[in-house]
């Protein structure tokens, strides 16, 4: 497969007045293939969110290049849609309007009918037809996050970036959303980068798991290939030797090689 998204020699420093710069991440080199789902996992403070923010363009790297389909990334753009951890829906707009706002802006050429079809299509994709006229304040956390996913997908991004998308949810809701995401991914087939600190989530969802060393000067420690066929079933996987191997590899990376005490 050709080069799709590549990170080349990425470094991020934060200036601290009167002291040396804080080097959050350094020497990150990564190639992501088209339609690949990768997750980036690491302890808190390993710079995984910083990395995602640089891919989204919300934050600029200090040095190095991020290249998407032969174009250097500069600043944010709709071809790299972000699902934010706290959903970031506009609370004064209904579910429908939140998605409509994004589609309208990114695809101004759509007629009224096509616009409505598109918005409704993505609302159905996350099974929220019954809630489309509700305000974000009137629906549950899991539903909000589904709207966030629908909004991100509705503008057909080349890359879907998810920053601990299910981190704020309880474990049952989280499992439910992971199923949603896998089902949708079977349909839309796009490239996804997920930031997570959940080992099961990383193995279940991804083709490759990128493991980050601890910060400061965090970098990629190991990359794990997850050779599990799709569609994946979380219950059956519990007995699968490949699944168990992957889990153990990540566990040993995070808790033996790069164990971290809470400060």
């Amino acid at each position: 497969m050709s080069k799709f998204l590549s990170l080349e020699g990425i470094e991020k420093r934060f200036p601290i007045s009167g002291k040396e710069d804080y080097v959050a991440v350094t020497d990150v080199n990564l190639e992501i293939k088209e339609n690949e789902i990768i997750s980036i996992i690491g302890h808190s403070g390993c710079g995984k969110s910083t990395l995602l923010n640089m891919i989204s363009g919300l934050d600029a790297q200090t040095s190095g290049a991020i290249i998407l389909e032969n174009h250097h990334i500069q600043g944010p753009g709709p071809e790299r849609a972000v699902v934010f951890q706290n959903h970031s829906l506009l609370p004064w707009l209904s579910v429908y309007q939140n998605i409509e706002m994004a589609v309208k802006k990114v695809m101004p050429q759509l007629g009224a009918h096509e616009l409505r079809q598109r918005v409704e299509h993505y609302i159905s994709m996350v099974n929220l037809d019954h809630a489309k006229d509700k305000l974000p304040g009137e629906i549950s956390g899991g539903m909000k996050q589904r709207v966030g996913i629908a909004r991100a997908l509705s503008i057909t991004p080349k890359v879907l970036l998810m920053d601990e998308p299910f981190g704020a949810l309880d474990s049952l809701t989280r499992a439910n959303l992971q199923e949603h995401l896998m089902r949708i991914q079977q349909k839309v087939q796009n490239t996804v980068v997920i930031i997570t600190h959940d080992i099961d989530e990383a193995v279940l969802l991804s083709d490759r798991v990128i493991m980050m060393t601890n910060g400061p000067q965090a970098t990629i420690g190991e990359i794990l290939e997850v050779n599990l066929p799709r569609p994946r079933n979380r219950v059956e996987l519990q007995q699968n030797p490949e699944y168990i191997r992957c889990r153990e590899a990540i566990l040993s990376f995070l808790y033996e090689k790069f164990a971290k005490d809470d400060e």
Partner: protein, 271 residues
């Protein structure tokens, strides 16, 4: 009737009885101070304790004798016109200025000292200067209201802009919103409740200012009407004026509060 409602009606009545007692006490101590019952008659008409028959100022508020002698309704209308003119002007100038101060750090640095210095200046201090500039009662009153009621609008609008969460701005950045789209689609909806809080404070100030302004400028208006009552030894009318001013101010605040709730997304859509 439920218990809370009974309390809400009964308890203020207890206070009212107490206030009337204190008032009667003052009236018996201070020479010529109007008693509650005489004030009531001066307001709604009847026969006073001295045996004079009166038509009350509130029972005939719409009369027009000549240019300088009009009923209390017309006095209030004149005052309200000035208040609204100054208030609307303060909104037209204050909201954009507040957006600017809230969105640009440099604008904040540049303007904040002046806002802080002019905000506490009493309307009575502005009045002579503005009267000197405009030489006109209406213009002076409107300008005084404008310059004293604009500050809460600027400050609260700027506060609203600053309360826009970084997350919403990130959404806007990913979608590549222009500055104008950011203002209209994100900053304004978030700021609206704050802007209305500012407007509510501002209208309150405007109503406070008008009475003082009209006392000094003269002519027509509720402020002058009260001052005129004082000059004509019509002390009943001063008390009636105070109560009417209070009631109208309360009403303005209620209306403003209802309008604010209507535009506040956090209070919409919840039953």
């Amino acid at each position: 009737m439920n218990k809370e409602l009974v309390k809400k009606i009964f308890l203020p009545l207890v206070v009212l009885v107490f206030v009337l007692q204190v008032w009667s006490g003052i009236a018996s101590l201070v020479n010529e101070f109007p008693t509650p019952s005489d004030t009531y008659i001066a307001a709604f008409g009847g026969v006073t304790s001295a045996g004079d028959e009166l038509t009350g100022v509130l029972s005939n508020p719409f009369y027009v004798n000549n240019q300088d002698d009009k009923g209390i309704f017309w006095q209030l209308i004149e005052s309200l016109k000035r208040v609204f003119a100054g208030f609307v002007l303060a909104i037209i100038v204050g909201v954009p200025l507040g957006l600017f101060v809230g969105m640009s750090k440099n604008a904040f640095y540049a303007l904040n000292p002046f806002i802080q210095i002019f905000k506490p200046v009493s309307p009575l201090a502005w009045l002579p200067l503005l009267l000197f500039i405009f030489q006109d009662i209406n213009m002076t009153a409107i300008a005084t209201i404008f310059i004293t009621s604009i500050w809460p609008i600027i400050i609260n609008t700027a506060l609203g802009v600053k309360s826009v969460s970084e997350d919403y701005m990130n959404v806007a950045k990913v979608l590549r919103f222009t500055s104008m789209e950011k203002v209209i689609q994100i900053i304004l909806p978030v700021s609206v409740p704050y802007i209305f809080t500012g407007m509510r404070l501002s209208l309150g100030i405007a109503w406070l200012v008008i009475v003082a302004a009209e006392m000094l400028t003269g002519g027509i208006g509720i402020g002058f009407w009260i001052w005129d009552a004082y000059n004509n030894l019509n002390y009943h009318h001063i008390i009636i004026g105070i109560i009417v001013v209070g009631l109208i101010g309360y009403l303005l605040d209620l209306i403003m509060g209802k309008i604010a709730d209507y535009f506040d997304y956090t209070k919409r859509g919840r039953a």
